[in-house]
Symmetry: C3
Subunit: 294 residues, 3 copies
């Protein structure tokens, strides 16, 4: 039977990215659905469960994608509510590549720490402008690895609201602080071991001078692919390069390379699986496996 | 050349059901079109007729589907008007599986009657709440088998309007009656040989007490897949089980199993055919063939 | 790796024509996008460039199609702006088959001229009602072959506006004249060597009497597929038939046959190419090659 992927995309146009990479991961057919909502996902899922019978449904996979990662979360919730044995379907969750990006990012950081005889466990990780999808997922992954996690936002309320949601979702404690100017940013990161910038393209969050004032920082990372990056001195291709004495940098290309491998592996695993959720948790374990961590 | 199916779906999202089952039936490629209307079907059909030449058009098939079976009927009319030799295309008509469901339903009833030394010919079939797609198609099929057909509706005018349309479409006489409460329902079915319930999910049309008062009833059937069913005592999996003395029941799963086989067979036949309409007429003959009837 | 075509279609429904012919040309998968605009084409292109890596992007192709050839032009402009080495993608441009039709049309005319010991070089070509896509493209192709080109329109301003745009785009001089009635049409074509009619379906532009008054005309052509054609006496299947003494005719079917071959060849070439634009220029060279011209 053909391995068929149903792409539930929140966007007006289903992204060629997810379609093309899914074919390359080995799916025979990708059926793209645009403008999928939490509500429409219910009927789409029901209609995917039965036509192929129990044997066939094992060859059907769902991919939840799109720019609207909040809606994607609700879509996943509704898919889970709709599926029941024995008509289960493996579901990939990776809106705009956020899950695989966050996973690759944290795995690369961990690898760099291990190389320098550290590990995330017990370290302080500050995620600057961390209220977006990648920031949130990186926060939960770092917390699950035993790190002390701080998320900053330009507004205190926003940071605290997101942290509240993440604590509920992950069961880990975190902290949300305001960092709307250089002083507040420096204050938030001065005793950080790891600084991750997940802000908007083209906004410099940490300049060289600030980097010089960090007391314990070992790794800085930025997944932004459009220069200037959020951390001065960091380059797109930085893959553990020492950007100031004792601080090693990770840029978008270094993360992207691993992200691609994780994504292909996750797609293939979901294709071969009969059920299960393939999201940042799966992706992070896969990323560590690829990097020979643990 | 690739066997390509164009799915003309009236819905906002093309249903994964039709897409998945079509791949499983052997089509190489399914091209889904959402929100197809009677009007847009004309251009879509024209554009499907010529690109592959006479040799190639034999490998192109159209599937008319969607929740709006009234629009689907108009789409079919316009497709037929548009096609001309030698650029004909085989067309499958099965909006929301209605044609294959009605066909499997009536074939299963016939099979059960034959097993008990009856046949539809000359028997009275009452289709409760029969003004929807499955009810209408079942009515025409039963009539074509020589049964005396009655369709009920909560409103007399609705029943008579539908019967008028079906008589015109099929050339067979039928009767439309009002059955909006227990008394009227009982009145409509008390001398029926076969009772088919095609009402809304979760509405009980015939209770046990009413079943006890039926004078000649041999078979009751319900294609509803969501309990409670329209006929009390009937189960989803009933496949000829005697639910009260002398009355045998058919539930949705028993019908669904045959429906699936008919659908696959119809898709494959249309795939291999150069032209022709594959609707409830084809489906009913196929269903009888599968059940070794006639 | 699978050869995947992304169809960027301006229409509400992606045309089955382009999808079916693309499969027949050998693409493994066609991914249709409807309602594509110049703006959305940017993101779609970006998302197509990266998921398969440098090796994979060579197996990705874009097809720009749809009824709105003006928007298609803008889409192409934006695709070109977005692509950069080494992530280039071969792009086919053929909205509603206009590029391949115009190319086949002019190649067939040239072939007919050559057979009668002429060539387009130096001849006067008048394109009646030539402000649509096929007329415009035929004008640029004829001009590139050294012909003196005149485009007519019912309104002088319209003719001159289009000619201005075409001169800018092609770098060749042309002339735009008004031809809104029989007298003006006759005036515009009386010393033409070649007359091409690209008007609306069912409007006769040149009647038999007018044909008799042409002083130097050698070829008349019309790509309209719906009779009555724009040139009286011409038939759909005319393939060089002498319709009045000394004037040879080309009808839509004769052009269409070559157009089909050109389209298949262009699709295959784009499939195998790593980059480049496949539009009327490529198509015309291919058409000449097929006809053994030059």
């Amino acid at each position: 039977m053909k391995n068929i992927l149903l792409l539930f995309d929140t966007d007006e146009y289903t992204t060629p990215f997810d379609i093309l990479i899914s074919y390359d991961a080995g799916f025979d057919i990708v059926v793209p659905y645009a403008k999928v909502t939490a509500e429409s996902a219910i009927t789409l899922t029901q209609d995917a469960m039965f036509p192929r019978g129990v044997k066939g449904v094992a060859h059907t996979t769902i991919f939840v994608g799109g720019k609207d990662d909040e809606e994607a979360k609700k879509i996943l919730t509704n898919i889970k509510k709709t599926l029941f044995p024995p008509f289960e379907i493996a579901v990939i969750v990776d809106p705009r590549g956020g899950h695989t990006t966050a996973s690759a990012l944290v795995a690369k950081i961990e690898k760099l720490l291990v190389k320098n005889n550290y590990s995330l466990k017990g370290l302080k990780v500050v995620i600057l402008a961390g209220t977006g999808q990648v920031g949130q997922l990186a926060a939960m992954i770092c917390a699950s690895e035993g790190a002390e996690v701080v998320i900053t936002s330009r507004k205190k309320e926003r940071a605290e609201k997101i942290v509240g949601e993440l604590e509920k979702e992950s069961g880990f404690k975190m902290k949300g602080v305001q960092a709307s100017n250089d002083d507040e940013i420096l204050e938030s990161i001065k005793d950080a071991d790891v600084v991750i910038a997940t802000g908007k393209a083209g906004v410099c969050l940490v300049n060289k001078e600030m980097l010089g004032k960090l007391e314990r920082c070992k790794v800085v990372a930025d997944v932004n692919a459009n220069p200037p990056l959020g951390i001065e001195g960091l380059e797109l291709s930085s893959d553990g390069k020492e950007i100031v004495p004792g601080i090693y940098g990770l840029g978008a290309l270094a993360v992207g390379d691993l992200k691609y491998k994780v994504e292909i592996a996750m797609l293939q695993a979901a294709k071969d699986a009969k059920k299960g959720i393939f999201d940042y948790k799966y992706a992070f374990n896969k990323a560590k496996e690829i990097l020979d961590l643990k």
